[in-house]
């Protein structure tokens, strides 16, 4: 019985596994180049796509080759990242996850975003295949 309870406690749901991946991707962005982050957490093929729009309206769409060309390592910093309002759409080996994000830097700058990741399970492990990031300045 105790073993069963322990098993239940340690058994991660698919939602928890996806959250863990999304949070690991964010943590790695602070210490690795973008190219290394996508090599670690993404499916890289001709369908791979990352869309991001910044608060000033500047927009980027990057496919596999552009992602792999981002080899610069980020500057050291101690931004705080908070993710919340998760919504999951899971269908077996594919999933869409939505979340809100707040980033605060040591300098007091803040960037909010509404984000999505489309994931697929590869050898039992969730990987990101597409990403959509809408950054915006907090109102008020």
């Amino acid at each position: 019985m105790a073993l069963l309870c322990a098993g239940t406690l340690f058994a991660q749901t698919e939602e928890e596994k996806i959250k863990q991946l999304v949070e690991a991707e964010t943590a790695d962005f602070a210490k690795m180049s973008f190219a290394d982050v996508v090599k670690k957490h993404w499916i890289l093929d001709e369908k791979t796509v990352a869309m991001a729009t910044m608060p000033d309206g500047n927009h980027l769409q990057m496919k596999k080759d552009e992602l792999l060309a981002l080899t610069a390592t980020p500057p050291e910093g101690h931004a705080k990242v908070r993710k919340f309002d998760y919504l999951f759409f899971i269908n077996g080996t594919t999933a869409l996850v939505y979340f809100s994000q707040e980033v605060s830097t040591d300098e007091g700058d803040k960037v909010d975003s509404h984000e999505m990741r489309y994931l697929e399970k590869v050898n039992g492990e969730w990987k990101i295949h597409a990403s959509s990031v809408h950054q915006f300045l907090p109102k008020g």
């Binding site: 729009t53 309206g57 927009h59 489309y118 959509s132 915006f136």
Partner: protein, 150 residues
């Protein structure tokens, strides 16, 4: 009927079936085009009632070229009663990528809208869809509008 005629008829029948059978990608494209067309003549609320799954997870994310960002959930979508002005904007969708897994799908595409006045709005868009009673419906939309770099 000789064997040659029979084969000919069979061949035409199979060709006809193949022409009529829409692939899932074609069905999704048809839905996206129908949704876009309806936007020019219906209130947003009627468009989403027709083409969307409206529940507590339904969501639209849009960022405009100036960076203005909007997120709308079911209640906001159903409150959008304004009917669009009559116009004849041309809409071109291209660069489709499909991620289909049975009764769910993600599709990405590029869109260019050109108004009669010559204004253009470009966007990279995403829809997440689910099949309900055999018909694809939209559940989530992400629209990144942007000004093309010259």
């Amino acid at each position: 009927m000789n064997k040659k005629s029979l084969l000919l008829i069979l061949g035409f029948s199979l060709f006809g079936v193949a022409l009529l059978a829409q692939s899932e990608e074609e069905k999704i494209k048809a839905l996206l085009n129908a949704e876009t067309e309806d936007f020019t003549k219906m209130a947003f609320v009627d468009v989403v009632k027709k083409h969307w799954i409206l529940d507590d997870k339904a969501m639209v994310l849009v960022t405009m070229p100036d960076g203005n960002h909007v997120i709308e959930k079911k209640e906001e979508l159903l409150a959008d009663l304004a009917v669009p002005p009559a116009g004849h904007a041309q809409v071109q969708k291209s660069d489709y990528q499909f991620f289909i897994n049975g009764n769910t799908a993600l599709v990405t595409f590029t869109q260019v809208v050109t108004t009669e006045e010559g204004d253009k709005v470009n966007s990279h868009e995403i829809r997440y869809l689910e099949k309900v009673d055999g018909a694809w419906k939209i559940r989530v939309s992400s629209v990144h509008q942007f000004t093309p770099k010259v």
